[in-house]
């Protein structure tokens, strides 16, 4: 295989493995803030026990997220050096801002969240948890901003330098608020909240089925379902906004998402199907006019098809179509599960409905698969560009790195990541089997003191 293919496989492999963990940290971060707020408000020690247990799960996901995150930061330079020279002025600023504003905040207060239980008061601990959660969100902001700039570049101009042309910032805020960044950020965060929420839902459903830690599971289930329901519904809204943006700013990508070849008014929405790339058609049930309506709010308006673009400027249609539809399909399934679960919970019959609990046990996989599929669809849909309209992926490679070197590192990373994944699953399962600690029902140290006795 050539350097391009190998480098793309390596980047895809390392980022998709990394992307299992930060969404869990972001989602669990929100859940921890809610649980600790409930504890402060109700003083019910059950919430202290919950905070302790979910903190342990959080720590596990965070550690692998950090370890695999450094790889991402280095990889732009190691494998995509020409790209890095071209975008460093713009893209590098967003990464550096992420380091200063997000990583320090997150890692600093994580120390208090994990090890400060007996060293600080309740309010200080709650504050630290909020800061960790905020740091995780800041990190999402800057990295999605950077990635969105690659999708819809703005606030830059191209300047000739001794090392060839490169993009330079002309307007920092136009770069940050580029046309797709806020839609994509909101949609990404919805996916992250779901990832964390459905992990909590899944573990709680498991305990309820096994009739273990019942009070703990019921309370955790309510928090998880609440966050999951809100995030799933918001995901629909943000996904819709995001797609309208794609139609406007990256029409070739939207056409690939929807498998639309001919520019047409009354464009149909294909629900699922198979793309026949040779004959440039899609087979599957479709709602006539729906795509035009969703894109423009008017079925009589045209949607741009792939035929407007020369073949060398089109993304791989079949793969993008299938991944996009997988994401959307799971998105709706998650809404169904969350609404169903919340309804039964409200009626007070959820904990007897074993079939529903079994569905909820497996719900943890939904957001994970949808997050991966969505990210792949977004990145593959941008192809053949690494920066949309400005630089092709094939032009961004490192000039001096050989195929053998990339193959070597790819094999090494694959081996290590498989090992890490096995250990992660083993330890996560171990924590779940072990369950919440009964001793945590009694807060210790400064946490046991009354709220008035707290010292910051």
């Amino acid at each position: 295989m050539d350097v391009l293919t190998l480098s793309r496989i390596q980047f895809a492999a390392t980022i998709s493995f990394h992307y299992i963990y930060p969404p869990l940290s972001i989602g669990l971060g929100v859940i921890l803030v809610i649980i600790e707020a409930m504890w402060l408000k109700t003083k019910n020690p059950l919430y202290h026990q919950m905070a302790r247990f979910w903190t342990r799960v959080f720590a596990l996901t965070f550690a692998i997220g950090v370890a695999t995150g450094i790889v991402m930061e280095f990889e732009f330079g190691t494998n995509w050096a020409t790209y890095s020279r071209f975008v460093g002025d713009v893209f590098g600023s967003a990464l550096a801002a992420e380091g200063i504003f997000a990583f320090f905040l997150e890692s600093g207060f994580l120390a208090v969240l994990l090890f400060g239980w007996d060293k600080v008061g309740r309010k200080m601990h709650f504050f630290s948890t909020c800061m960790v959660c905020l740091g995780a969100h800041f990190s999402a902001i800057w990295i999605v901003v950077a990635n969105s700039w690659m999708q819809t570049p703005a606030g830059y101009h191209i300047v000739e330098t001794a090392n060839g042309p490169r993009a330079e910032i002309t307007d920092f805020w136009a770069m940050v608020f580029n046309p797709s960044s806020m839609d994509r950020l909101f949609h990404t965060l919805c996916g992250c909240w779901q990832a964390g929420a459905f992990l909590v839902v899944s573990v709680s459903a498991w305990y309820l089925l096994k009739n273990k830690h019942v009070e703990f599971a019921k309370h955790s289930m309510r928090v998880g379902l609440g966050v999951g329901l809100v995030a799933s519904l918001l995901s629909l809204v943000s996904g819709h906004d995001s797609a309208i943006g794609v139609a406007k700013n990256q029409p070739a990508k939207l056409a690939a998402f929807e498998g639309l070849y001919e520019t047409t008014t009354n464009a149909p929405l294909v629900l699922f199907g198979w793309v026949d790339e040779k004959n440039e058609s899609v087979h599957g049930p479709a709602i006539p006019g729906m795509l035009s309506y969703l894109t423009h709010g008017d079925a009589s308006k045209p949607v741009i098809g792939l035929n407007e673009f020369p073949p060398e400027d089109r993304p791989p249609v079949q793969r993008v179509f299938q991944l996009y539809h997988l994401m959307v399909g799971i998105g709706f399934a998650m809404i169904g599960l969350a609404v169903g679960g919340a309804f039964f919970c409200w009626r007070g019959i959820l904990f007897e409905k074993r079939w529903m609990l079994w569905l909820l046990v497996f719900s943890v996989l939904g957001p994970q698969i949808a997050n991966q599929a969505g990210w792949f669809a977004a990145e593959m849909g941008r192809q053949p560009w690494i920066v949309y309209g400005l630089m092709r992926t094939s032009e961004g490679l490192s000039a001096v790195v050989t195929a053998n070197a990339v193959l070597g590192s790819l094999v090494l990373f694959t081996f290590i990541y498989l090992l890490l994944f096995a250990v992660f699953v083993y330890l996560l399962n171990d924590k779940i089997q072990h369950g919440p600690d009964e001793a945590d029902l009694k807060p210790t140290g400064k946490l046991a003191e009354s709220l008035g006795g707290h010292r910051a």
């Binding site: 460093g88 713009v90 490169r166 790195v401």
Partner: protein, 343 residues
């Protein structure tokens, strides 16, 4: 923000220097504790050492991540040339950092002997290898690496393993071991502390041997790394501060003033990085043999506009970071006590 006539390229040379010095002083001690990890035999001792760095190692490593991000933003050509040119060295560094990070987190999760030993080796090996590779990278930057007229690295992986860079790698390991031993003494008590106190002397001797050898090698084989001091003799005062700081470490340790010993070690690191920066300036990566191809703060930099924006970001961000970093070290001050949340 408008910074007027301020030489932003030089400011960013300084700021990158500050970030990497901060990294050396902070992550230096936890890498050093990692390098010493296997010398303790008892499980409890190992746990105490791990928990001495437990709450802070992660934040310390962020200095490297932010340093890398700042390099990407301020000097993208250096980031691109060095990271792609030193490809396999950086992949090894990543592997070392990954194993180290997960070893700290995973080790305590199971009681089995084989499990703990496996992660002990991962932690120690990862710490030693990352310290070594960071030193090797600095050695190459100072010695000079082949760079072509397009600014691309023109050597191979083996080009990087010259005797001088290896010497700098070993010196870095010894420096971090000394720094880590002092930190560990500050965080422990009783029998373990006695044992660690003895180690400080061994690590100081190891470091001084490495450092003296490296200084001689620099003067004889890398004269350009002493040129600015030759031309400006008053700068020798920095070298003198460095020597005094190093000499002060065993003095403070013998008087049981461990905090002051740690500060001396930090001062020595700042002095060494200052000397390194003074000799490199205005180069960021020296080209050898064609010196004209060196990457400098001018030909490798981002636009003035971006350097200005980044400076604003740094001026907002760094004080906040310093404020809560200090608070967190304050919260976790004192000797390590193992509890159920400990590693």
């Amino acid at each position: 923000m408008n910074y007027g006539a301020l030489d932003l390229n030089t400011v960013w040379f300084l700021l990158i220097g500050v970030l990497f010095t901060g990294y050396a002083m902070l992550d230096g001690f936890d890498l050093g504790v990692g390098a010493l990890h296997l010398f303790t035999k008892k499980d409890e001792d190992r746990r105490i050492l791990l928990n001495a760095i437990g709450p802070v190692w992660d934040g310390n490593e962020v200095w490297l991540v932010t340093g890398g991000g700042a390099l990407f933003a301020a000097f993208p050509n250096v980031y691109a040339t060095v990271f792609s040119g030193f490809y396999f060295a950086f992949v090894l560094l990543l592997v070392a950092l990954i194993f180290r990070a997960v070893a700290i987190e995973f080790r305590s999760k199971q009681p089995m002997r084989w499990w703990r030993q496996m992660w002990d080796i991962g932690f120690a090996g990862g710490s030693i290898l990352s310290s070594f590779l960071i030193g090797v990278a600095m050695g190459n930057i100072a010695w000079g690496v082949p760079i072509d007229e397009r600014g691309e690295y023109a050597g191979t992986f083996w080009t990087l393993l010259g005797p001088y860079p290896i010497l700098l790698g070993v010196t870095t390991v010894s420096l971090f071991m000394m720094h880590g031993a002092i930190y560990a003494v500050m965080k422990t008590e009783g029998e373990l502390q006695q044992k660690l106190r003895g180690w400080i002397n061994h690590t100081i001797i190891f470091f001084i041997i490495c450092y003296a050898t490296m200084t001689m090698a620099t003067l004889i084989y890398v004269p350009h790394m002493a040129a600015r001091l030759r031309e400006n003799p008053w700068l020798f005062s920095i070298a003198l501060v460095n020597m005094l700081a190093i000499a002060n470490i065993p003095r403070e340790v013998s008087k049981r003033r461990d905090g002051r010993a740690f500060i001396s070690s930090c001062v020595a690191m700042i002095a060494m990085m200052t000397l390194f920066g003074l000799e490199m300036y205005p180069n960021l990566v020296l080209s050898n043999p064609v010196a004209a191809n060196s990457l400098t703060i001018h030909n490798a930099a981002s636009s003035q506009k971006t350097l200005g924006i980044m400076l604003t970001i740094a001026l907002i961000g760094v004080p906040i970071v310093l404020a809560y970093t200090v608070s967190i070290y304050w919260i976790f001050r004192g000797k390590v006590k193992l509890d159920k949340m400990s590693y």
